[in-house]
Subunit: 216 residues, 2 copies
């Protein structure tokens, strides 16, 4: 982010807050930054682009973190990767909150924001897919887990953006723990065993039999 681009971005956010997104023209932004219209489009491909940061480096870092995961530390790799994304937003501070106010009200921008998140979801999905080894197209479980990760992250992020959370990273840990416990029950709660038993007998009978067996 060069000095010039920074000037343009600040001018844009000020005007968007004061006048509204639609009422602000690119000319207005350039004028306020003391620059020409051409210069704006040299630094940002569109009027929307000035709002959203370049996520490509974050996507790369997420991919790298996931690729570095060994067979044993899958949940921690996922949590770490989600934390990278979360931190990116939190580090932006008020800028992220201002963007949130815009995306909440302008449908066009909301769609764009969602599209960004889909990029992350794609990374998680490919990771989970490689992990489970299922073929593309029929791997609903991978899709579900990947979307659950992103949904959990977004929920924590939104709470922070609305100022409802002071320690988003701790909340992220909780949220990711819930997600992993839902999608891989055996992985949570060390010392617990989950058994799926097909039987014609009712649950109480089975439970009693198990307790009796464990007392042997």
């Amino acid at each position: 982010m060069t000095e010039t681009a920074q000037r343009l971005r600040e001018a844009a956010f000020e005007l968007f807050e004061q006048e509204g997104y639609d009422a602000t023209t690119v000319d207005d932004i350039a004028d306020r930054a003391g620059l020409g219209r051409s210069t704006f489009f040299r630094h940002f491909r569109s009027k929307e682009d000035v709002i959203f940061p370049d996520h490509s480096d974050v996507v790369t870092r997420v991919r790298d973190r996931l690729a570095a995961a060994g067979p044993a530390d899958t949940p921690s790799a996922v949590t770490d990767a989600a934390r990278i994304v979360l931190r990116r937003y939190v580090d932006e501070g008020e800028l992220a909150r201002s963007r949130y106010r815009l995306t909440r009200t302008i449908p066009l921008l909301r769609a764009r924001e969602i599209a960004h998140m889909q990029q992350y979801q794609r990374e998680f999905r490919e990771f989970v897919r490689a992990w489970t080894g299922e073929p593309p197209g029929a791997d609903l479980r991978a899709e579900l887990l990947a979307s659950a990760i992103v949904v959990a992250h977004n929920q924590v992020l939104r709470r922070w953006l609305r100022g409802e959370s002071d320690s988003p990273e701790a909340e992220l840990d909780e949220a990711m723990a819930l997600v992993t416990s839902i999608h891989a029950p055996d992985a949570g709660d060390t010392g617990a065993t989950v058994l799926v038993v097909r039987s014609r007998r009712d649950a109480d009978t089975v439970a009693a039999a198990v307790r009796r067996a464990l007392r042997e």
Copy 2:
């Protein structure tokens, strides 16, 4: 959908397929339909709008189906509601497939499509939220379940759009069964018993004990 709007829509899809989305102007579409440019914008608010059907009635039907659900038939209500959406696409036939080819290649349209799905996700989320009675903002479980429903639906829909599925409704049933079993393990699979056993012994020992006990 009036006769005029139908003519415009058909002309638009023909041109989008032949010339590409970006290369086709609204003038081209109107000319091909033998109508004026003003007429196009009277029937569709934007160039994108001609691609997407009006989902508001489907959203309403989904909401109504969910609202009509009794306390006992939650999973079937969710499945029914998802089926309403799926059927809407399937009934469109080749039109839906043509739209899919466009949304796959044009990022702008893809974002728009996803935004549409968010509408449905919202309905499911509110339904689940009312069901669980959790407060807004802290109800991660509701968000997760709602997104899982939509993801499952979309996966089935995409398979049909790509011609990989002959009986999408049956696949939807399977997918929704998986989702509900993940999010409410006790509810799936009649005749199965799920036991959570805390024990210092390893899983194999426990399993062996259970099998032995059930043979009694």
